[in-house]
């Protein structure tokens, strides 16, 4: 692992693992992180699983937050960032609960953040070098990823190759931002734009991802298309916002209190 400039007390680092019915893979993921990323606490967000995900995660040595209802990936990740913000973590890395992210890359993500102090987020991308070396996914998903990559690159003005990758590490500033406000469906895509809107910089480094070991993807092709339309709409309307996200002291981004 790349050491950061020594500082007292040692930097608190958290691996956030969102999981929904991942009892088959979750123990392996936690083990992977604890072994290959020493210095990271593991937090599993059990997003309303109906299997033994939470128990298995606790036995494997993770901190577990259980959602009584399924909020979806965006809500689960925001719980993780809330925990990180409240407990003084300086670094948070997001690792999927299905085992497709290889924890050996966490040291590389950390090293990249340490070498580039202007960055507040670094994402592990499958497509930085050649088009998807070794990573298998459906054609429709690839088309979706490419459309998002094109749109996001055009808006942010920097090259983004894998906007849907959930394998990303954030600094304290980004943790606090995401704890306040985090998008819902395909949150990774909109999160990049949130960073951009707040003048926080992000970058990508190449990683290899595994095909999922067990369980099923939460997103079917039709839902996937529906989400795409919705996220593109969100991105489009976002362009008309002068200041897209809340600052400290602003009203919370909920629809509840308002009438016409």
């Amino acid at each position: 692992m790349t050491p950061l400039p020594s500082r007292q007390p040692p930097q608190k680092r958290l691996a956030i693992v969102p999981a929904y019915n991942e009892s088959g893979a979750i123990a392996g993921v936690i083990d992977d992180v604890l072994t290959n990323a020493p210095g990271f606490d593991v937090l599993v967000i059990d997003d309303g699983s109906t299997d033994r995900t939470a128990e298995i995660a606790a036995e494997a040595g993770a901190i577990v937050i259980r959602h009584p209802i399924n909020l979806g990936i965006g809500g689960a990740m925001q719980s993780g960032y809330l925990y990180a913000a409240e407990n003084g973590y300086e670094i948070a890395v997001q690792v999927d609960g299905d085992g497709q992210h290889d924890a050996r890359h966490i040291a590389e993500l950390l090293g990249h953040l340490a070498d580039n102090p202007q960055l507040d987020m670094v994402t592990g991308s499958r497509f930085v070098t050649s088009e998807g070396d070794g990573y298998k996914s459906s054609a429709s998903r690839r088309v979706g990823i490419r459309i998002f990559a094109r749109v996001i690159s055009a808006i942010t003005g920097s090259r983004v190759t894998d906007p849907t990758s959930g394998f990303r590490m954030t600094t304290r500033r980004a943790i606090e931002l995401f704890a306040r406000d985090y998008p819902h469906d395909y949150p990774e895509v909109e999160a990049i734009l949130m960073m951009h809107a707040h003048q926080l910089q992000s970058a990508e480094i190449p990683v290899l991802m595994r095909s999922r070991t067990s369980g099923v993807s939460s997103i079917s092709p039709t839902r996937s298309a529906y989400y795409m339309v919705k996220v593109l709409l969100a991105i489009f309307i976002g362009l008309f916002r002068s200041r897209p996200n809340v600052e400290l002291g602003d009203p919370a981004p909920v629809a509840a209190q308002s009438s016409l």
């Binding site: 009584p68 209802i69 919705k230 709409l233 309307i237």
Partner: protein
């Protein structure tokens, strides 16, 4: 379709579109609930602007007064929107129930822990007050 009713239709449907868009922009309305509204208002706007399409539509389904066809389409959208909201409310009610139950169970566990803690501190205090009696009782 007369010019006056056409202008009125354009103003109303266009106004609806702008209001929905503005609500989403101000983050008062979530995109997932805005999608159907935006779709409905843009279809109605197109029908209001494009007179020929509305006339053709009216003739095909046998409506003599073209603006009525616009109302019919709007009515269809309203039915779909209402059904959509019923589904959303059902899900919210269900989730709300689960949350309340979970909170109730947690509250019970907390109360239980607090009572146990109170009993323990009470006993400790009693022990400290009368060590001899406690000692005698243990023998």
């Amino acid at each position: 379709m007369g010019l006056r009713i056409q202008l009125l239709s354009i103003v109303v449907t266009g106004g609806l579109f702008v209001i929905v868009f503005e609500l989403v922009r101000r983050r008062k309305l979530m995109e997932r609930y805005a999608l159907l509204w935006l779709f409905a208002s843009s279809v109605l706007l197109v029908l209001a602007v494009w007179r020929g399409l509305l006339n053709d539509l009216a003739r095909t389904v046998g409506i003599y007064y073209a603006p009525s066809a616009l109302f019919a389409v709007a009515f269809g959208f309203i039915l779909v929107l209402l059904l959509h909201f019923s589904l959303v409310i059902s899900r919210l009610a269900d989730q709300n129930k689960v949350l309340a139950q979970r909170l109730g169970l947690l509250q019970q566990r907390l109360d239980d822990q607090e009572r146990r803690l109170a009993r323990m501190t009470q006993r400790d205090a009693a022990d400290a007050d009368a060590p001899d009696r406690e000692l005698a009782r243990h023998r």
